[in-house]
């Protein structure tokens, strides 16, 4: 954990910290999360949470989700997805397949949940360190921006901060309300 925080702060120090400060000053919280949340959500929190053994049933409470989650690109939380669905690669909507590692960082989308008609922040983590294609590819990319807003950039590899750079598939994690 300490090491991860170090590495998180490492790049914040060298490059984005001043930017983060500035954005935090001039923008609302949502806008800030959209820009910087990927690092928070995907990177630093991850190692504090225990691994999930519920075999794919780990979706969030409070979303009004049906028991069976849709498996196609049109599923609401995939609104900004760009990648292959881990649920078709041995993982689930929120779980990387066995033997792969979630990306430390991620891009973030804002998706409307039709079950409660609220907007949620969705973190798109790549699953890293494993070769081979798998799963349907989705390219909805709503809210996508080029790398000048890196936290929204679905065209980046998000295994870029992991030691193992190979990209296997992508998961979609509902990490916050976007109101």
């Amino acid at each position: 954990m300490a090491k991860l925080i170090d590495s998180f702060l490492g790049w914040m120090d060298t490059a984005a910290e001043n930017r983060a400060r500035r954005i935090a000053n001039v923008s609302g919280r949502r806008s800030f999360l959209q820009k910087a949340g990927w690092a928070l959500v995907g990177g630093a929190v991850l190692p504090m949470l225990p691994y999930d053994n519920s075999n794919g049933q780990a979706f969030a409470r409070g979303l009004g989700e049906p028991d069976e989650l849709p498996e196609d690109c049109e599923y609401w939380r995939y609104c900004s997805l760009h990648g292959s669905l881990c649920s078709q690669c041995g993982g689930s909507v929120t779980q990387c397949p066995p033997g792969s590692t979630p990306s430390k960082v991620a891009w973030v989308g804002t998706c409307r949940n039709p079950n409660d008609d609220k907007d949620y922040l969705v973190s798109y983590n790549d699953c890293c360190g494993k070769g081979g294609g798998c799963g349907d590819g989705c390219s909805r990319q709503e809210g996508d921006r080029p790398g000048y807003r890196y936290g929204l950039a679905s065209e980046s590899s998000w295994c870029l901060a992991n030691e193992d750079k190979g990209i296997h598939c992508t998961v979609a994690i509902v990490v916050g309300l976007a109101e």
């Binding site: 914040m12 983060a20 779980q95 397949p97 494993k130 070769g131 799963g135 190979g166």
Partner: protein, 387 residues
């Protein structure tokens, strides 16, 4: 969980000194944020393994499908031009492959990687002599000894030899020269293997218990490599070895006596109209409880057509030497049948880059019909199933 998450964010916020102390989702009453995790273990059940060889300087992948419906359950990945096998219980996977420093150039290394199947985790990597066969995959290239203490690995530089690895110590214990011979067919007892030689004979190598030494014995001529060449593909039938030729003659061999002996040659297409020949790479697969051999076949076969895709899969009763049924299964280049009373048949199509599952009906002469398929692998010529 919510508290822990909020605490985590809070901690970071303090440290980074740039964030409000609470974030939007911590304020929501009902909503509990999700976390990204890794699924630790594949769902249990019978698996089918397909070794996708990467010939383009990138990673090969063994895909692991649910035998029930061909859902993709996981995968393990290695280097280029992989060879692959699994333990008898299906819980350990072995891949031998090459890694090159500039992908398509540079002197690299050949390695044996061992994976825990349920977790898809790499558990061990053993560097091999830099001689690994770079050859369209067959199960004859990476073989466990029957007690799974040794593993035999095909080399070709193009001089051929076999690397012997002691899996207990994780070390290379011997390189057995096998000049003019190719393919590894381990003995059922003790340590050793047979190999097919250029003059149509087999050589059987009997290894010491620790695998460090070998004695060889060459058989009489078993087949004519000019007139009736056999594939590398093989299976066991009641303890014997089965091979098949381009022209669909089945060779049944005894390897239990330290040297190969020919028991029978059965021409399965004899008398069938249409000049049928064998079709594909993994072309010999035998269902033991029923004594049925399954072979992908194509008509009007000719010189050079032996790796073409199938038009049919034949169910042949090897005990009664009877062709039972010709299922119209097109484009298959590899098949594998399970050793169950009601067999499951799996097939690969190079043309369609798909894996198929076929139900086989023992009450209908072992007719096979497709019940599932899955796409998205690349170049694959071998497949195997766990029990």
């Amino acid at each position: 969980m919510a508290n822990r998450t909020a605490a985590a964010f809070g901690l970071l916020c303090v440290i980074a000194g740039a964030y409000a102390p609470t974030l939007a989702f911590a304020q929501a009453e009902e909503f509990v944020p999700e976390t990204v995790t890794t699924k630790e273990r594949m769902d249990p059940g019978q698996n089918v393994f397909v070794n996708m060889q990467n010939w383009g300087g990138g990673p090969s992948v063994a895909y692991i499908y649910d035998a029930k419906d061909l859902t993709l359950k996981g995968s393990v990945s290695g280097g280029s031009q992989s060879h692959f096998t699994i333990s008898a219980d299906g819980n350990t996977a072995y891949m031998a492959s090459g890694y090159y420093p500039r992908y398509d150039s540079g002197a690299g290394e050949h390695v044996l990687q061992i994976f825990d199947v349920p977790t898809n985790a790499l558990t061990k990597e053993i560097v091999l002599p830099y001689k690994l066969a770079q050859y369209t995959d067959d199960i004859a290239f990476l073989r466990l000894s029957s007690d799974e203490k040794l593993i035999y690995i095909q080399n070709a530089t193009p001089a051929t030899s076999v690397t012997v690895v002691d899996l207990t110590s994780g070390t290379v214990v011997q390189e057995v020269p096998t000049p003019g011979c190719f393919g590894i067919y381990p003995t059922l007892e003790d340590h050793g293997f047979s190999t097919i030689c250029n003059d149509g004979a087999f050589t059987t190598f009997t290894l010491s218990e620790d695998g460090t030494s070998a004695e060889s014995q060459k058989s009489a001529k078993i087949f004519d490599p000019d007139a009736d060449p056999i594939y590398l593909s093989s299976d066991r039938a009641e303890g014997n070895l089965l091979f098949i030729s381009y022209h669909a003659n089945v060779y049944r061999l005894d390897d239990s006596k330290g040297v190969i002996e020919k028991l029978s040659v059965t021409p399965i297409a004899e008398g069938v109209e249409g000049n049928w020949g064998t079709s594909g790479y993994s072309v010999v697969t035998y269902n033991e409880p029923n004594g049925i051999l399954f072979v992908p076949m194509h008509s009007e076969h000719h010189d050079g057509s032996h790796y073409h895709g199938s038009e049919e899969v034949w169910a042949y009763d090897l005990k009664n030497k009877t062709l039972l049924y010709r299922s119209p299964l097109a484009d298959l280049t590899a098949i594998h049948v399970t050793d169950e009373e009601v067999p499951q048949l799996f097939g690969l199509s190079l043309k369609n880059t798909k894996i198929y599952k076929f139900d086989v009906d023992p009450t209908a002469k072992f007719a096979a019909k497709q019940v599932a398929e899955h796409s998205d692998f690349g170049f694959a010529t071998t497949l195997m199933a766990s029990p």
